[in-house]
């Protein structure tokens, strides 16, 4: 199982990378950490005629966790973000939890945040976190310069995003979130892609939930905010039965698809369970 041939470029500046990308048209792929792309190359399911490796492009490997939020360069490795997040008190819990669900340490040492997001695997954890917390993707192209796309608009389907063929995702950012957050998922084995994952955020005064955010992964062709479900508990006092109502609303609000590992009915039902458990976790409301 070896990759098909391709032209390989490793530009040393963003400008150079953008020019290459503009010239090479629809058949070039960007290479970041390669932990999703290279398996596809090895299996020859992906056979781009050219690879543009962002490894030498300066400035994409910095992340900054501050009072005004988190800015993550596209080439920041999951493992290094894991470390910075662990040593910061302002980073949201759900981010820390989601990062630990990405593959295994050996994978997280190579995989990059930009690569993970741009690959847009519907079962992937990070996209759900960015959708839930209202993250922003910064895209750059040679001809049209820089633009920002809200995470919710960025993810468009299986492996499909708002990134135009000539654009590079250079940064992803998360605003600060005033409340508590949690990421909870069910996978068949530790480290597997989630069957269903839930990212939940809420500001809790006593047991009143505000600013509620819920996004799922593994329940459709892309991560989505579940606004109807959020409304069920927005401003409400959290209680066991409220959370059960919420779970029902979540199940009603997702459009999962069956695959080898779980049916759509299973994912629909368990989506509600995951959200309920995530909220139990942050609110302390017992089931």
């Amino acid at each position: 199982m070896k990759p098909a041939p391709f032209d390989y470029f490793d530009p040393s500046s963003l400008q150079e990378a953008l020019e290459l990308l503009a010239d090479l048209s629809w058949d070039a792929s960007l290479l970041a950490g390669g932990q999703s792309l290279i398996p596809m190359l090895n299996m020859r399911i992906a056979r781009p005629s050219a690879l543009i490796d962002l490894r030498r492009v300066p400035g994409l490997d910095r992340s900054d966790i501050g009072a005004d939020g988190i800015r993550i360069g596209a080439m920041v490795r999951a493992a290094s973000l894991e470390r910075s997040v662990a040593s910061s008190d302002s980073a949201p819990t759900c981010l820390r939890q989601a990062l630990r669900e990405i593959g295994h340490p050996q994978i997280r040492n190579r995989t990059t945040i930009g690569g993970n997001l741009a690959h847009a695997d519907p079962a992937s954890e990070l996209p759900a976190v960015f959708v839930a917390l209202g993250g922003t993707m910064t895209l750059v192209s040679k001809d049209r310069g820089e633009r920002s796309v809200p995470a919710e608009e960025f993810f468009q389907g299986v492996f499909s995003t708002a990134r135009e063929p000539d654009e590079i995702l250079v940064e992803a950012s998360l605003p600060t979130y005033p409340g508590r957050t949690a990421f909870v998922e069910v996978a068949r084995r530790p480290g597997d892609f989630s069957l269903v994952g839930a990212c939940v955020a809420a500001v809790l005064e006593e047991l009143v939930a505000r600013e509620v955010r819920i996004a799922m992964c593994g329940t459709g062709d892309r991560p989505r905010r579940l606004r109807e479900a959020e409304a069920v508990i927005e401003g409400a006092v959290l209680s066991a039965e409220r959370l059960r109502e919420l779970a029902d609303a979540v199940s009603a609000g997702v459009q999962p698809r069956s695959d080898l590992h779980a049916s759509d009915e299973y994912r629909r039902a368990v989506a509600g369970v995951m959200v309920r458990r995530a909220l139990e976790r942050i609110s302390g409301v017992p089931s």
Partner: protein, 157 residues
């Protein structure tokens, strides 16, 4: 370009140079160009961990690295692992019967040695680090025994 590229990297402390197609996997560079066959290839899908090496000091799947990505990198393979941590892991695995067919062993040794070096906790090593490796023979039971022994010893050498 598709034609061969000259790649310079340091392997087990020695500067090496190979000329390979850019599509060549690091695992193949190590095994078939540099003769370091101790790194085994079990899936080329990034799942089994047999091909794990240290890439700039951190465990990584060498089947998920293209040769040019390793330009200038410091690579350590099972053949190159030395020092107290390496010997502690080897002894513990031998004494606990933590290997059978031995194919996945090299990758596990690499991951565990770096975990011991980096001061990773025993539970983290037994769950997260070992979790990145597939073994079809041992059921992992004796590998976890070996981890317990090595970490105990690592704590008070």
């Amino acid at each position: 370009m598709t034609e061969a590229r000259r790649i310079r990297l340091t392997v087990n402390g020695r500067p090496r140079e190979v000329e390979v197609e850019p599509r060549t996997l690091l695992s193949d560079v190590l095994r078939h160009h540099l003769g370091l066959t101790g790194t085994h290839v079990g899936c080329e899908q990034g799942s089994c961990g047999s091909c794990t090496i240290l890439f700039d000091g951190a465990p990584a799947r060498s089947c998920l690295v293209l040769a040019p990505q390793a330009e200038g990198a410091h690579i350590e393979t099972v053949e190159g692992l030395a020092g107290p941590e390496a010997e502690a892991i080897r002894r513990a695995m031998h004494e606990a019967h933590a290997l059978q067919c031995g194919f996945c062993t090299a990758g596990i040794v690499v991951s565990l040695v770096s975990a011991l070096r980096d001061g990773i906790g025993q539970d983290e090593a037994a769950e997260q680090v070992l979790g990145g490796h597939l073994c079809r023979c041992t059921g992992y039971v004796n590998i976890r025994k070996a981890i317990t022994a090595a970490w105990k010893q690592g704590a008070n050498p």
